[in-house]
């Protein structure tokens, strides 16, 4: 069986992949399904869902289409989540590699920095960072990445330290391989898989952090985000609770999809197979 088949034969993997597929398609097709700016006024304000075919999910307090916000919000969530997780991974793996290889004082200093980033609550750091530097999508991505790179860094370092003692690394050294070549061809490929396994958690966390930031009004105000939709719905929570409920449910389903996908992937790749039995 191919890996994809094995992934799909797991209920978790199949459902997770389906959710993520629908989200990606929804995000990509957003301009086709709901053309125009999702933040423009599309109709009467506070239209309930399923009453007007022009706005199937209703409109908010300002008459903005909820479905359009949802579709464009999927874009924002996925893009920011993936970009932040990717940056965190790159930064974490680089720092972890350097610390693991250099050892000594460099290692000590880098690990203290990692410690520092782990004891400051990531959300507080993101809050301080975005509010200080100014709200824009790259800053939000960087702010989230800054709060999450410490875990992959620590894991990469531990992996490098474990692998560099292996026999095949010693033999590579004996045959006169260049240290850089050993690092990138022998150690890195073997150190990465467990670190990459973290990426699903990091993506899910990044999506939630982005939503929480925009919920508190620190998201990019010029694009549709689920967090700002939830916040926007708060003022009419009693009369039109669907405005907060719908984007929040989308957020939960997205994060669930990421978690299910990673569970399924873990099982399909076998390292979790024993746990399932």
């Amino acid at each position: 069986m191919s890996r994809l088949q094995r992934l799909l034969s797991q209920p978790e993997g199949a459902v997770g992949l389906a959710i993520l597929f629908i989200l990606v398609v929804a995000g990509l097709l957003a301009p086709v399904i709901s053309p125009g700016d999702p933040l423009r006024i599309a109709g009467r304000a506070l239209l309930a869902p399923f009453t007007d075919p022009a706005s199937p999910l209703g409109t908010d307090r300002l008459g903005r289409d909820v479905l359009a916000g949802l579709l464009y919000g999927a874009r924002t969530s996925l893009a920011v989540g993936l970009a932040a997780a990717f940056s965190a991974m790159i930064l974490g793996v680089c720092v972890g590699m350097v610390a693991g290889f250099a050892g000594g004082l460099v290692d000590e200093a880098l690990m203290r920095v990692v410690d520092a980033f782990q004891i400051v609550p990531a959300f507080l750091l993101a809050l301080a960072f975005v509010s200080t530097i100014g709200v824009s999508t790259p800053v939000i991505v960087l702010a989230i990445a800054l709060g999450t790179w410490a875990d992959p860094a620590r894991l990469t370092r531990a992996q490098v330290l474990a692998i560099r003692e292996q026999d095949y690394v010693a033999s590579a050294r004996v045959i006169g391989m260049h240290p850089a070549e050993i690092a990138f061809r022998e150690i890195l490929p073997n150190a990465l898989p467990p670190v990459l396994a973290l990426s699903a958690t990091i993506v899910a966390g990044a999506i939630l952090t982005e939503a929480a930031l925009s919920f508190l009004g620190l998201g990019n105000p010029n694009i549709a985000t689920w967090g700002s939709m939830i916040a926007e719905g708060r003022s009419v929570l009693r009369s039109a609770s669907y405005l907060s409920v719908i984007p929040g449910a989308a957020l939960a389903v997205t994060v669930l999809g990421v978690h299910l996908f990673s569970e399924g992937l873990g099982k399909a790749l076998g390292d979790d197979g024993a746990r399932a039995a």
């Binding site: 004891i119 990531a122 959300f123 301080a128 929040g248 024993a274």
Partner: protein
Amino acid sequence: MKRAIILLRRRAISSIPVLLIVVIFTFFLLESASGDAVDAYLGSIGGGDAALVQSLRESYGLDRSMFARLWLYLSSLGRLDLGWSVAFNRPVGALIAERLPNTLLLMGSATALSFGLGSALGILAGARPGSLRDRLLSIGSLIVYAIPSFWLGLVLSIVFSVKLRWFPIAAIETIASGKTGFSRALDIADHLVLPVGALALIYLALFLRVMRSGMAEAWKLDFVLFARAKGLSRSRIVLRHVARNALLPLVTMFGLQSAAMLGGSVVIESVFAIPGFGRLAQEAVNGRDAPLLMGIVVTSAVLVISVNFLVDLVYAALDPRIGASEGSV
């Protein structure tokens, strides 16, 4: 007891450089902001003349060089002085001391709930790995784990405060109720049910999963096989041998999650209008109050270090191997 002191000393010594990095990084981050607290203050009072600006900058030390100010901050921090909040015009330390108890109450309750219920459900799931009960609990916890806490808070307040009117919708206690003693405690508990539930649920799911997978691993260990061969009852094996070993990763996880929980309470406090530490952070951000934000970051770092120290102690109590080897140090 001796082990506790050794652990405390080690934790304290290793924490100092880390805290220093936190302070310096935060300092330079906040320095890079365009506009300082005096600009924000002037904006809020509607402007002022150059002489006022100059005297304000002097009184807050903002006219000196960056490094002079960093040194000033570090030395006052050494005297446990967190500086002066511009937005509130009060000492940062006093502000934090006033708000922190509410957050500690919220976090403590959420921790107790998620740890207790999460590990209990984890034991139920891990007692028979692969059973229907295990699969239902695992899927359920995965779904709960995906729900954003601030949204859950909103949904809980729609259902239980707006529709059912069971619990108050916001704040930490009834304002000017004049309640004291036990009835005040009940009032606060009543206000805390929803925020604690919203904050705890995600960690409950996490603890359940960690406990469950730890138990699934422990079932494969030799001493469990031996206990089964001895003919011990299943419940005794589950509780005394399997669950006890799975508790250690749970304690570690708790230490790792304490920072995230503190971050999560920022949003929950905003949802339920609880005047806590997290709300203070948001107010500091809105008021461009760099000294306050700085104090909040430093305090949260100290808080997380303290929690991790407690975790060390619990860990040492659970696992006698830890700390024993350093006995001669």
